[in-house]
Structures are given as structure tokens and as C-alpha cells.
Symmetry: C2
Subunit: 351 residues, 2 copies
């Protein structure tokens, strides 16, 4: 297969972890006789520094002319403590999601047996946890009308949803549930929000076409508790943009290994793959950034093009690296000198 | 002191736990020569059953003519799975908060040493946790304009905040921080929301009058992670309505003892005290509902009127009941026959 892959490595540890997943994809191409063509473009703080725009036109154009996007991370502390900053790195990510129509953010959360002791939660609570979160990514309060009054003394954000926005994501989530443990939990705040009641109505209707999937509902406040009390109860989670942001980040830490979690953001035409961790500026260029989340994002990319054997081989290589303690310091209880590059090398060599 | 206390026991286990805190307040009145006058009124599902209205006029009137409110819990499963229900028990609570101007919801979250093993989190992570959450309770997306299109295919909720709404709560939170460990964390989503940027601006301005308090900011998604990874980092948390709903419920389970957590909702004229747990319908009338959260809410009520010795005595009695295993089954590792009433009796007798 021939694939044009746009690489948007971004800020902080983005470039160094992405370099490892490219190395791994090149090994896969060699082994399976594919042709992957990588083209690089700036996004986020680094793009602001270079062009004044967190998502330069040339970057967007490259993405629109590629088969898939490999994304690193964005964010720089110099923009964080300035609420009045007119341009922020995050805008690049939001604009990209919107421009490419990436409405479905899919985040698998798994508790790896080898890493159970790393979790802040007790072992018996997390052992066996295996969740797939479907978060709506181009609607809701993120993209609704925002206003600040002329005197600067009041502000508003509008949360809006339409039936089609809910339907297209819900179908993906129900299909995923059918291929898994056949349970889908809709997370909302239907006791307060009109948009949540629309979600419940539409999802309930759609569930009639997926009779083999058990549907249940949970208010977001209760979900935030249940994720800690009993994460094993979840199979597929379906939710709107803001609640998805919160619950997926909460879920990401229960396994004790946020450095292992990958995500896909897909739309009708484009698809983007990225680690769920951030740009982690304190760790930049120290060789300590864990590249596995980025490497597993590359596996999700391959899967998206039905290259399932290739994706499985990456996963086997990752499992091997964990078993042999070829991991960065965040996970390593045995060696303290395994760098980002060494992990990438090991996994690429294994392939 | 003479106090008129409106008792809104509500649904599910509400009445039985509230009966215990009344018993305890009567013991306090006897011991300290106060006169507490209790008047009862329906709210929630029980009020819908009786009058069709979750907050009947007579109930609101009673509240407006009382010095304080003791609230139980509301909610009945028969309303939960009907998104189209026009009347819901929760509306009674929301209407009450708004009508009485209860803009500040204060929730202390503490990890009790005696109960550390009950937590889903590891001991070393939660030991010593002591957080006070200040949640805005009468604004934001809860009370903004809600719309559904005529064809029922789209819906919206407006999140609005004004400077005054933020200021009055922020002052309370900063004062609380001054009396505690002098740290205040504002939780928001200022990288996405206009309202969050207003919160950051106003809170930053106000912080200049509280120079001894260290102020920091956390995005809600990151906060949902930090609450699990390292809850001890928090002292006072300040946040808007919806984020407060989520983060305070998440925080409530880390101590392993949601049956112990009390809350106060205060405004300029009125104040309401309630356990943070819900109506827990499955447990109703089985004698297993833990009354301590309600009893500690009564302690917060006394404190509100500067009856600090009285509040301390209740807390001492509660500690004693925990130490002696005079607790309901949810917490009891020793006896299995201690009922809701027995816990109330023990604490009242101790006083
Ligand atoms: C950077 C930020 C705007 C973004 C979001 O809130 O969507 C991030 O938290 C995420 O979850 O990808
Ligand atoms: C019952 C519900 C409307 C309420 C809220 O969301 O405010 C509850 O969850 C709470 O936190 O008191």
C-alpha cells in the first residue's frame, strides 16, 4: 500500500516521540513492502513562532492532500498564563479538527497487567479494565458562539448539538460495541441540559438498530465517580465534546500509564492519530519522553487502512518492550538508562 | 440561640438520615440551651407526587421564613429514564438554589485515617487529603437559556457568567484559603471557553487583595487527572457550576467514604445544609443508610451561626462513633447490625 502521511510533530516532546513512530512505520513499510511517504509541517506554538498562526495555511493544505495525519503534541507554557493572549497553540488543534471534519475522537484505555502497580488505584479495581471512549470532537461548547460584553464584565459560550452530529458518532460507537463486549454507556447531564436530552433521545432511537448492544446512561458527575470506583463496568463510552475531554483524561490515569495511550480522530475524509499525552515541556529533549503512545497511534493509523497484521506486529513489539523492561524511566523499575530513542530502536528492530 | 430550621428531607434515604441529624441537633439544643424549631416541607419526587410541583410554593415560603434549611436528598428512578419528562425532582433543587440565591456550594473532602483502606486509591496517595471545594451554584450552563428547535432536531444550552457572580464566590474562597493552607486553585477550561477566561481575569484581579494566598490554575481535564494522581496538592478549589459538579463528585469518592461528606450552600440571605450523597433509592427504609453526612451537615449549619463549640462536639461524637465501629454496614468491618437509627442514637447520646 502507498500512503502519504502528514507529520505534525508540534511542540515539547512531540517531535522526539513522533520520530520514533516514524522509525517504526518505516520498519513496517520495509517488512511488508508498503510505501509510506512522510511530509512534515509545523503546528501549535512552533507554528506561531514561525508564522504567527498555530495552523498555517500550508500545514492545512498538506493535511488535505495526505491520506492520514500523525500528530505529536502542542502547547507551550509561555501561552498558558496569559488569558488575554489572542493566539494560542490549542487553536491550531481545534481549527485542524474542524477544518478536517474529525468528528470522532476514539481513545482506548487499557490497564496493562505488567503495569498495574503503577496505577494510583488499587490493583483489584483496575485489573482487566478495557474501555473504548468515543468523544464527539467538532461540536458542542467548544465550537459554539463565544461572546464577551463590550465592558468585559460578562461572557458566554453556547453549547449546541444537532441530530446529525450525534447520529454519525453514535453509529461508530455502536459498531465498536458490537465488535467488543456489546455494552454502550452514554454519558451526559440530561437532568440539567437540553443538549443532553437531545443526545439521549437520538441515541435511544439509534439503539433500536443495534439490538445486541446493551445501552445505559450515566450523568457525567456520577460517571466521574464510577470511573474510579469500578472502571471495569465500562465497555464503549459515548459522549459529547466537553464531557469526553474530562472523562477520557480521568480514565487515562487509572491504568497508571498515560505514556501508553493512543488516540484516533476520524471524519468522513480524513483521519489523525496522536498520543493522548500533552507536550510535557519539562521533559523536552531529555530522552525521557515515552514514545509508546505515539507508536501505538501509528498502529491505530495502520488499522484505519485495514493493515491489521501490521498493527498487531507493532502491538506485539510494544508488549515485548514492556516485558523486557525496554521502557523509559516513567515505567521502568529495572533499568534507568533507556532513552526515548532506544525504545523506538528496539521496537523497530523487533519488527 | 433561637433558630427556625426548615427540614426538606426529600426522597429515598433522605428522610431517615435527616431524622438522625434532627435528633443530634435536639441533643445539642438541650446541652447548650438553644431553641431549635423544626418545620417540615416536601421537595423533589415526593412533592411531585403530592402536588405536581417538585418545589411547591408552600415549601419555598417556609424556607424564606426560616433561618436555615436542612436538606435530605432528592431523586426517584421513575423519573430517570424518561428524558421527555416535563417535571423532574431535580428541578426542585435547582429552583430552590436559584430562588434562595444560594450561590456558593462548599464541599469539604477529607480522607479519614480510620477509613483509608476503604478508598479505591492507594493509601499513600490519599492519606492527608483535605480539600475545600467552592462551587458556583446559581449560574453558568445550569441556568442559561435552553432551546430545542421546533423539529426537535437541535438543541442548545447557554453558559453565561458575569463579573459579580465570580467575585462574590471568589472572595469567600480566598477567605477560606487564608484560614487554611493558603492555596487556591481555579479550575476552568480557559484554553477553550470565553467564560473561563473571564473567571481567570476576575479571579486574578481579586487575588491581589489576598497576597498571602497562592493562586494557581488548572484546566478541568487536567484537574480530573490530578484529583486521582495527587489529591493532596489541593487546598481550596474554586470553580464554576458544571465543573464543580464533576470535580466535587470525583473528589468525593477518593476518600472511600461518600457517606461522610457534608455540604453547605450559602447565599447572602439563606443557607442550606445537605449530605452530598443522593437519594440512594435501593437502600430506602432498610436501616443501612449512613446518617453521618447528614449529621455533619448539621454541624456545618451550627458553624454557620458561629456555634463552633457545638459543631466541634458533633465532630468529636462522629469521630468516636467511627473509632468504636458504631457505623452503618458501608463502613463497618466489625459489626453488621448497626442501623441508621443506632448511629444517630449513639451520637445524640454522646452529646
Ligand atoms: C488542548 C485542548 C484544546 C484539547 C481539548 O480540550 O480538546 C485537549 O485537552 C484534548 O483533549 O485533546
Ligand atoms: C441533581 C443535580 C441537578 C445536582 C447538580 O448537578 O447540581 C447534583 O448532581 C448536585 O451536585 O447537587
Amino acid at each position: 500500500m502507498k500512503l502519504n502521511i502528514a507529520v505534525l510533530a508540534g511542540d515539547g516532546i512531540g517531535p522526539e516521540v513522533t520520530a520514533q513512530s516514524i522509525k517504526v512505520l518505516k520498519a513496517i513499510a520495509l517488512e511488508y513492502n508498503h510505501s509510506f511517504n512522510f511530509k512534515y509541517a509545523p503546528v501549535g506554538a512552533i507554528a506561531i513562532d514561525e508564522t504567527g498562526n498555530p495552523l498555517p495555511d500550508a500545514t492545512l493544505e498538506l493535511c488535505q492532500n495526505s491520506d492520514a495525519l500523525l500528530f505529536g503534541a502542542i502547547g507551550d507554557p509561555k501561552y498558558d498564563n496569559d488569558p488575554s493572549a489572542k493566539v494560542r497553540p490549542e487553536q491550531g488543534l481545534l481549527a485542524l479538527r474542524k477544518a478536517l471534519g474529525l468528528f470522532a475522537n476514539i481513545r482506548p484505555v487499557k490497564a496493562y497487567d505488567a503495569l498495574l502497580s503503577k496505577s494510583p488505584l488499587k490493583k483489584d479495581i483496575i485489573k482487566g479494565t478495557d474501555i473504548s471512549i468515543y468523544r464527539e470532537l467538532t461540536g458542542g461548547i467548544y465550537f459554539g458562539k463565544k461572546e464577551t460584553s463590550a465592558d468585559g464584565n460578562s461572557a458566554s459560550d453556547l453549547c449546541e448539538y444537532s441530530r446529525v452530529e450525534i447520529e454519525r458518532l453514535a453509529h461508530l460507537a455502536f459498531k465498536a460495541a458490537q465488535a467488543r463486549r456489546k455494552k454502550l454507556t452514554l454519558i451526559d447531564k440530561a437532568n440539567v441540559l437540553e443538549t443532553s436530552r437531545l443526545w439521549r433521545k437520538v441515541v435511544t432511537e439509534i439503539s433500536k438498530s443495534y439490538k445486541d448492544v446493551e445501552l445505559d446512561f450515566l450523568f457525567i458527575d456520577n460517571a466521574a465517580m464510577q470511573m474510579i470506583l469500578n472502571p471495569k463496568q465500562f465497555d464503549v463510552i459515548l459522549t459529547e465534546n466537553m464531557f469526553g475531554d474530562i472523562i477520557s483524561d480521568e480514565a487515562s490515569v487509572i491504568g497508571g500509564s498515560i505514556g501508553l495511550l493512543a488516540s484516533a480522530s476520524v471524519g468522513d475524509k480524513y483521519a489523525m492519530f496522536e498520543p493522548i499525552h500533552g507536550s510535557y515541556p519539562q521533559a523536552t529533549n531529555k530522552g525521557i519522553a515515552n514514545p509508546i503512545a505515539s507508536i501505538l497511534s501509528a498502529a491505530m493509523l495502520l488499522e484505519h487502512f485495514d493493515l491489521n497484521d501490521e498493527a498487531d506486529l507493532i502491538r506485539t513489539a510494544v508488549d515485548k518492550s514492556l516485558a523486557l523492561h525496554i521502557t523509559t524511566p516513567d515505567l521502568n523499575t529495572k533499568y534507568d538508562n533507556i532513552t526515548t530513542t532506544k525504545v523506538g530502536d528496539f521496537i523497530a528492530d523487533f519488527i
